[in-house]
């Protein structure tokens, strides 16, 4: 079964995939703190408002993952934001998150050197996202 990307069902599956990933557990063993992901609104494909995800990541575990309001998302110490097309590339494994930021396709609010220490963990998160069967809004 494919899950609409993004949707509350999709993010729940994403959370399960994170917690099933041993390599993520290892590479994010010292990571502490929530990360917010914001998918910019794109009414043309049915994304009428920004879709915001709050992932409470702690020591290699996803303690909670949920849809939140933009206001809540912006309170996270790390906020990554991008267009639907660019997030889709990330989820499909065609764009690494750090490369995406280098190229200006994704925007990060938060301390860059800290994020850079966890590049391997962020790659594992992308692998987790790629494992979720996805149905894309623009297809």
């Amino acid at each position: 079964m494919a899950y609409k990307f993004p949707s509350e069902e999709w993010i729940a599956e994403f959370g399960k995939a994170i917690n099933a990933n041993e390599e993520y557990k290892r590479t994010a063993a010292t990571w502490e703190g929530p990360v917010a992901l914001i998918f910019n609104a794109e009414p043309a494909i049915g994304l009428d408002e920004d879709f915001c995800v709050w992932a409470d990541l702690w020591h290699g575990e996803c303690r909670e993952i949920k849809k939140v309001t933009l206001e809540e998302a912006q309170k996270a110490p790390y906020v990554i934001r991008g267009s639907y097309a660019n997030w889709k590339q990330v989820v499909q494994g065609r764009l690494g998150p750090v490369k995406g930021m280098m190229q200006g396709k994704l925007k990060l609010k938060g301390n860059l050197p800290t994020i850079m220490k966890y590049v391997k963990a962020s790659d594992e998160l992308v692998k987790c996202a790629a494992k979720v069967p996805s149905e894309f809004l623009d297809e």
Binding site: G104, K107, L108, G110, L112, P113, M116, K117
Partner: protein
Amino acid sequence: MGYDRSLSFIFRCPTKIVFGEGVAGDVGNEVDELGGKRAMIITDKHLVETDLYRQVEKALGRRYVGTFSAVEPDTGVHIVNEGTDTARKLNVDCLVSIGGGSVIDTAKGIAIPLKEGGRLEDYDGFQLLTEPAVPHIAIPTTAGTGSEVTFAAIIKDHQEKRKLVFANTYIIPNVALLDPLMTVGMPPHLTASTAMDAMSHAVESMHTSERIPISDAFALHAIHLIVNYLPGVMEDGNDLLARGQMLIAACIAGAAMSNTHVGLVHALAHSVGGRFGVPHGIANSILLPHGILYNLDACPEIYAAIARALGVDIRGMSDEDAGKKAADAIWELTKKAGLPQKLSEVGVPENGLEEIADLAISDGAIVYNPKPMDPEENLKVLKQAW
């Protein structure tokens, strides 16, 4: 040196690069072209006392509204915020930086809140800006960092004792005035160490896992220029031809690195500098040949190309042998330039190596090294370099 079909990249170098003896005197025209009416100079307390500075101030003429000269090496958030306050009071609409990497990074930092409002720390992140920052003309007085064309400003939060990286396409300086006359006063030791900073940008941009062909081209030419002109500029600091070529080398090595990443050498050098205060260029200079030898089996063909750019006759050699010759050529260059050869010569104690090896693992640069690294592997390289 080959690439496969997975190659995909964006190369940016939006800076207008103006080169030539005396081009710093064109700064007024450049301000006009950027639509500026009220320009502030950013520099340090030493440069502000020099004729070089006075020439730029004079060239700005009616557009000059003031100077912020409180920049220190290893610039800080508090310095940037102070500079921003000064710029706001003066109603500045264009920044002119005169100095090395710390000064240029300070101006990049000021350009952010001056346009967006608030304080610098509000913009801690990657690609956060949505529109160009305040126009910035950079006039480098060293030939090393390449900050005049890079998209990052490294600014320390001295209170929190942590390094902040403001990385954004919109803070790449609009104009770089590469004037050989501006680097003539640079002392030999600084000339050599900044040159090796540029050399390490060039080499590391080529062996990083994120390398791209356009950066390769810039890097290879930068290496060629440094090996050919550093000896001349060391022999005669007034050799304007050599000074100019070194400025070009640093600029294009910076552009190469700004579009790729760096690797093991920078990761170790950051830790050596952070822990034992070894200047960045010196640390890079010592570590670079060891980094090449360590990575040799991962990408020998790249080091063979680097060897060729260094002027080594590699005909009949295997790529591995050519790579070893590349490391030898860098040693020869740094010895001739009078730079230290070992970490033990620059105040790094042997019992500090393990700490450096551990620290470097948490440096972002390490993940782009062509070979995966861990503290044990780092320690092997450090022991060789000690």
